[in-house]
Amino acid sequence: MNDKSQSLHIFEVLAKQHEPMLMAYLQSLVADHKLAEDLAQQTLLIAYRKINTLKDPSAFPAWLRGIARLEAFSAMRRQGREFPVDPDVLQQMDEVYRQFEEQNPADTWEERFHLVEDCYGHLPETLQTVCRLHYFEDRKAWQIAESLTLNLNAVLKRLERARVAIRDCVQTKLAGKPVE
């Protein structure tokens, strides 16, 4: 294999390992699968070209998120949209990801995400349904309201309750406590 193929191959392995994290991070910021995919692709192109600037290989995930954050910010600005996440929240998100990494350092991202899947599994059926429709199937809250014959506020409330329940459950699990 020549040098270019080698470097591409190594980078592909690295990128594949962190693709679930990168996509999840970008989805948190832009809440749009297609846009997140485009931004992730752009992030990876930049990461490959700037790999020389990465001083510590163990910082690769955080470094990737940093590039992704800037790309998401630029994309929003190009679209004339306000970036939806406050800077201090962005910083806290990095801390959350760090906790995921440290909790199960030997796991893949998909394995680390089982924690959230477990907590999702603890939700009552009603909350799972709105989560599935909104987060997995990309339906808008008003579309869910129509299909479930609920009012919009009820759907928004359910989504919020689901988010809070999953958050609390994940925090508890990361702290090593049993979930009630």
Partner: protein
Amino acid sequence: MIDETPDSTPPAGPRKPDAWELVCTGILRTEFGRRPSRAVSNAIVQLAAEAAVSNGAPPKTHTEGLIGRIHQWLSNLETRPALALAAALIMVTGVSIYFLKSYLHESGGSENFLVGCKLSNASGMRWADGSVTLKIGDSLPLKMLRLESGVVEITFNSTAKVAIEGPAQFQLIGGNALELQSGKIATDVPKRARGFILQTPTATVRDLGTRFGAIVGTDKSSEVDVFQGRIQLTTDDKANAQGWRLTAGMGMFVDERGATPADALPELAFPQPEINLEVRPQNCGFDVSGRTAVGEVPTDFGYWSGLSYSLTGATEEVKPANGPGMLEFYNPAAPLAGDSGVFQLIDLRPYKPLLASGQVQATLSAMFNRVAGDANTAGKFGLTLAAFRGSPAEAKALWAGRATLALALADKELAADNNPQTWELLEAATRLPPETDFVIVQIRAMVPKDNPGATLVGHFADLVDLRLSTPMRASSIAIK
């Protein structure tokens, strides 16, 4: 505790999600990391294409820089707090292994090739004029390839293997992804290559560690069938963005009108890459004190049984070939004095789809050793593999009549050397017919015919292994 209050109370004004909620919802939106994404494959294709045209651009320094830092970082590992670096260790180790593998297995390259995916086997291969000229071992170019006839096997660096049967049109779209425009394909994706993606004109198949096949017609319709494990299949159907999970025996037909469940076609309708499976006996290295029995042929799967033997650790003269344990043979007591055999039954019914081809070769192997002996010491070992149809309850009778009842039988003997420092490998192989339900494995220490009283003490076995393998083949059932 999950909040179960009614929904009637509207939200008290818009509340922005906090960092934890944002992270969790991002993870939800990726379906816990399982939602198919083409970000990496698209990026790699773009980078590969750029590399192909730039002819001398600087990735070399990228490689040297990254790898150099990785190795430097590894060499400093002991001086750093292990826990904080553990996460990165996984990543770096994986990368280093891949890096080393690449060096070991690749020989030169051309700039038009994508991440070292190779043509690993071929039969009757004929490419369309001007499409490509390839020989076994070559890396595959980054362009649409037109296979007019024959079967080719491609091995990805991820270790995923595919067999494609012509006429077919396909191209690599990543180091673990392939686009099939037309033709037949079958995959063998080991766990480490999980995530292999097959793109057809109407469907995207994400492998979740399995074997599956697909046929893409000239009308661009796709038939996807799962032989083993599970896959995720998605289409352009916006109403079902998460697609379908298909498991063994399930199939799906997808055309421009949508997806329709279908009964999976038999594996013989697809080509097949070379497959190697390890179907190890339970406690194959005799390293754990699992279930064992004293007696003759077992009546169930998964344990060793013999008239006179024990599981032991290292002795003064002989150390196990691997791990802490090995098996020691003893002389059976009269009236069964003679060779000392130890048996295990191995269930092969889970491999029926693979066996259906009639091309599966089973190779039984074991390591043997003995203490230095004299004229009164036995010196031979034996190994038998016998395949049967039926139930384990019949095993004793089937074994007794194996000369006529076995569907396949392989037997090998070894005259062991007189050196307790060396373990010797013995292998026996046979082709398994599709009717095979289980095999009986026997390892034995043998006494000379003219000296049935020769001692078997100090005769050992270790690392008994059974491997199933099938060669690459073309499909043998025509599908209209």
